[in-house]
Symmetry: C2
């Protein structure tokens, strides 16, 4: 220890630093504090011109001290600006965390920092030993209530990529029969229905989640062309003759063999010549880039029995093993859209 | 949403990004995964030449998949390097996370990611409303068992600053009677005893913690000059005639009035002309810098009834209100040493 102290005096600016370690170990404070700021609508209030801790505390009905500490913490971590005691929104906070913004996604905090979700990561040591979620099914139990929360709270995220995806996969002016597997909030299928008035969408999910997809389709004005298939993608009748099957954020929950089994069923449901559109967090072969996609492996390790974030090579191998032809990938925000030939 | 997608195609590299938001909300994964890597001794193994996921899994008795995901995650977050499937230590990991390093501080994970500690931050919204810890006493209940864990696990952190502090406050060759308030692992007082053979240290802490300070003093070979005072600093007899009183990381647990009450007792225990040495995380007046000290307010909001990270002005006001003279501050790693005249 004495040598450390001497060293740090001698090598100021280049000495070893434990800051990154502290920062990581205190990471759950960042998660729960951001959730609190979203829950207390701090970003929305600041966007509306309530910009001091005293005023914010009054509007949000909190203590002044707590609000000051929360806003300073949000500033330190890049979610607010502070000038002479007055807080302001960053560009990203204004776009994504102010409820008045059309791209508001604050609701994701209520899933990503949900006690049931967090519980999956409380013993990463055990998950690493086992190679998967420590609880029996992770989040993957049939009709797990967390998926209703997921569909509700994570809707803004799928909404982000869905419009871009719809543009890419749409066959303008032509009828399309589309199967959306594990539709969740329904965004991907609905985006196609909005773009193509001749598209008929079949959304598949567990019954309790499907109610939400159907409601979203109705709200989007495409309810008459949105059909529900309730059940598990692994054993419900998928229907047949699809031009396009969507697999948004589904394959990462399972291992290669399970996915091949599913993909064979999917291929059988496609028209010959139809296409498969997969949306996934796809890490590069180095598995450490890009950071968000590569980090997604940890998300799966903690919350699924055998899921993972798959590289393009690994996805291609699944598709080939299920009888599919070649795949082409393109970026879709932080995710990747993989289009695969029949 | 449609406008978002269009915008991001048009303004690549400058478009709004939710990455910081995801990163923060997933922050607890970073905390618990780093704890797992420390617990599984991944850094120590890599330091010893076990550098592939397969070998590491074998040595640490984990699944290969889990180890691969953990090491990739550690790499993404800056704690490991990866080249052609081989992991390496970063400079900071080698210094602080390899058990063979004298500056090893991996044990801090077992406090900072302790379930009892984490529980304080699970409802930041409620803490912000209240202006303090939601549980009755936060961590501050008398003889709370977490403080024994704290003293054990956080010892490397106080060890870092203690040697440098001892150099500054020591009166070489002269007898010193030193009171170390809330001694915890005892590092600050022990560092003075090691430097000055004529120093007599009186370590004060709750009985269950004090046993550890005394044991540490014995291990450091200064046990014969280390005396325990068991109890609360607010009502136990502090003794008298001290040349120096140490207040390392204590004032942040309480509010101004409580601290003034304590500081009056402390001043009464000093020799006239004695000095007070306070070690604290001290934010600048802007309360958002430096980041580690400023973030410490959130640590206190969640875990104490009325604590905070105090600015120099606020500390000076407490000292003045208790009758002390002027203070001078200097950096002590991420913390600040404040020397105050009688």
């Amino acid at each position: 220890m004495d040598s450390m102290a001497t060293q740090s005096s001698a090598q100021i600016g280049n000495e070893p630093s434990p800051l990154l370690i502290f920062d990581a170990l205190n990471g759950f404070q960042r998660a729960t504090a951001l959730k609190a700021a979203i829950e207390l609508e701090v970003f929305t209030l600041i966007g509306a011109g309530v910009t001091t801790a005293v005023e914010l505390a009054k509007s949000a009905q909190t203590s002044q001290k707590g609000m000051r500490i929360l806003c300073d913490f949000m500033t330190i971590h890049g979610f607010l600006t502070k000038q002479d005691g007055t807080y302001g929104l960053t560009r990203d906070s204004a776009v994504f965390l102010d409820k008045k913004s059309p791209a508001y996604m604050g609701s994701i905090a209520f899933f990503l920092v949900h006690p049931v979700h967090i519980a999956n990561y409380m013993d990463v040591t055990a998950a690493v030993r086992k190679g998967g979620a420590v609880s029996e099914h992770g989040n993957m139990g049939p009709e797990a209530p967390i998926w209703v929360d997921f569909a509700k709270f994570m809707a803004p995220v799928s909404a982000m990529g869905s419009a871009a995806m719809a543009q890419i996969v749409n066959a303008p002016g032509q009828p399309m029969k589309v199967l959306d597997i594990a539709a969740g909030p329904g965004a991907y299928g609905i985006a196609i229905a909005k773009l193509n008035p001749k598209a008929e969408i079949y959304g598949l999910d567990w019954k309790n989640v499907l109610a939400l997809s159907i409601e979203h389709a109705r709200q989007a004005g495409v309810g008459d062309r949105y059909h529900g298939i309730a059940g598990s993608a692994f054993d419900v009748d998928l229907g047949a003759g699809y031009d396009l099957v969507l697999l948004p954020n589904f394959l990462h929950h399972f291992d290669h063999a399970t996915n091949v089994k599913l993909l064979k069923r999917v291929r059988a449901a496609l028209k010959p010549g139809g296409r498969l559109a997969t949306v996934e967090f796809v890490p590069n072969d180095d598995r450490i880039s890009p950071p968000m996609a590569a980090s997604f492996s940890m998300m799966m390790l903690g919350s699924t029995e055998s899921g993972d974030a798959y590289t393009l090579k690994e996805l291609d191998a699944m598709f080939r093993d299920a009888g599919f032809g070649e795949s082409a990938a393109q970026e879709l925000g932080p995710e990747t859209l993989v289009l695969t030939k029949y």
